[in-house]
Symmetry: D2
Subunit: 139 residues, 4 copies
């Protein structure tokens, strides 16, 4: 059963310290695809009382991490280019979706978008991983 990989990631994410810090939830995970949910809460505010860029990026990176490791070998983030489109409102439920745009032996590329629960586009991201030969250590 190949789904052992996805199951292992789901379980591992459950215990991930950074995920807990933000109250993020892994909503969906497929090979090369992931969807993660997070509510924009008060402790994520910046000096203007808006969502800190770091919070939005963290949500993006969680989707990216899970999607890019879904093939069962370790994926190392190389670069990420984030564009901020529209600031979310306090209390907004945000969803990041990571989709694989290409995958070769050593490199994987991903498009990640963040939307709120009425579908407004909040941010987009283009990201790149280096794919190691090593299997995920927690399989």
């Amino acid at each position: 059963m190949e789904d052992k990989i996805l199951d292992s990631i789901i379980k591992r994410v459950e215990d991930e310290p950074y995920r807990k810090k933000f109250g993020m939830e892994l909503v969906e995970l497929e090979y090369g695809y992931s969807k993660v949910k997070m509510t924009f809460k008060e402790d994520m505010e910046n000096i203007f009382g808006m969502a800190h860029g770091g919070a939005i990026f963290s949500l993006i990176d969680e989707a990216f991490e899970t999607a890019s490791n879904s093939h069962g070998t370790v994926a190392v983030a190389l670069s990420m280019n984030i564009t901020f489109i529209k600031p979310p409102s306090r209390g907004d439920v945000l969803f990041a979706e990571a989709k694989e745009t290409s995958v070769s032996r050593r490199i994987g590329t991903y498009d990640i978008t963040v939307k709120n629960d009425v579908g407004d586009l909040i941010a987009t991201c283009q990201a790149l991983v280096y794919r190691k030969k090593d299997k995920l250590p927690f399989l």
Copy 2:
């Protein structure tokens, strides 16, 4: 006295919810320049027990936010391109330095680097703001 702007930002950052969430410290702030410090702690770990990309980005974004707002008018982040060079070790004290590379009437550009306390390069970032006419609301 123009330093009123920098003083206001420093005070505001002191109370910033997101800064507190990460235990970040604004070490230095000048016009177009900022240095922020953060210790890589357990609650910042990803599924591999390494620093989550979101944590490193958050540190970068804090330096970017403070440097780009240092001229006293509101700067809105448009895009950020982060390259991950070397993962930090648990307990590492990390420093992000944001330097303005250009500033025009409406656009500001910044280079941000993250290093650990022995000077290893952890990540680099190229970032862009839109500069509004509005004064910082908390001046």
Copy 3:
């Protein structure tokens, strides 16, 4: 008739020196959308006899330029993030498609992809313009 804008751009592109230099063709132009065609020829080769990154980027930028100026006011490119997926083969006919992902009063964002004529993804790009108030000077 609003199509005067698109017609003016199409005519202007016809005379554009850089377009001619590469033998690019504007295949389709709508508000916030553009498709440009280019054949990868010998004079676009790099030191490995492959397509120079500059040639692929030039095609992307042509689609970006035309799509972002299609609203009739001057759009100034701020930043572009290109990811190279797969090198084209000599003689490949390449198509760049630029799609607007968001447009506000002052900022527009675009996703641009390059494919060859059998649909292989060659490169992707995320790009940003500053939208001036000025009408296109050649309208």
Copy 4:
């Protein structure tokens, strides 16, 4: 003599079709460093009579290509993030300088800047290569 690598690249660049297309000159080449010169000419103009983004990027990419291949093994461009700071004037002599910011077994990262001959910053770029094991084929 290790300079055989640099000499081979210099010679190969001399014959590079794309370099000739733009009249670029490789001014300096060291391990992990390159400087390339180009004059902004009429055939590089866009629909506004300004320098086409593709021309500026081409100059950047030429410096990036030569710097990243200077270690003697094949470097494949993965991603490049360009920020446009100031448009050059017709006739401007432009210089792109590529500096290696990090190099590991498989990945190299570079900062590239473009300046005109009075030192104005025209554009900056952050770029990434995948380093193959293969030696340069023309050594």
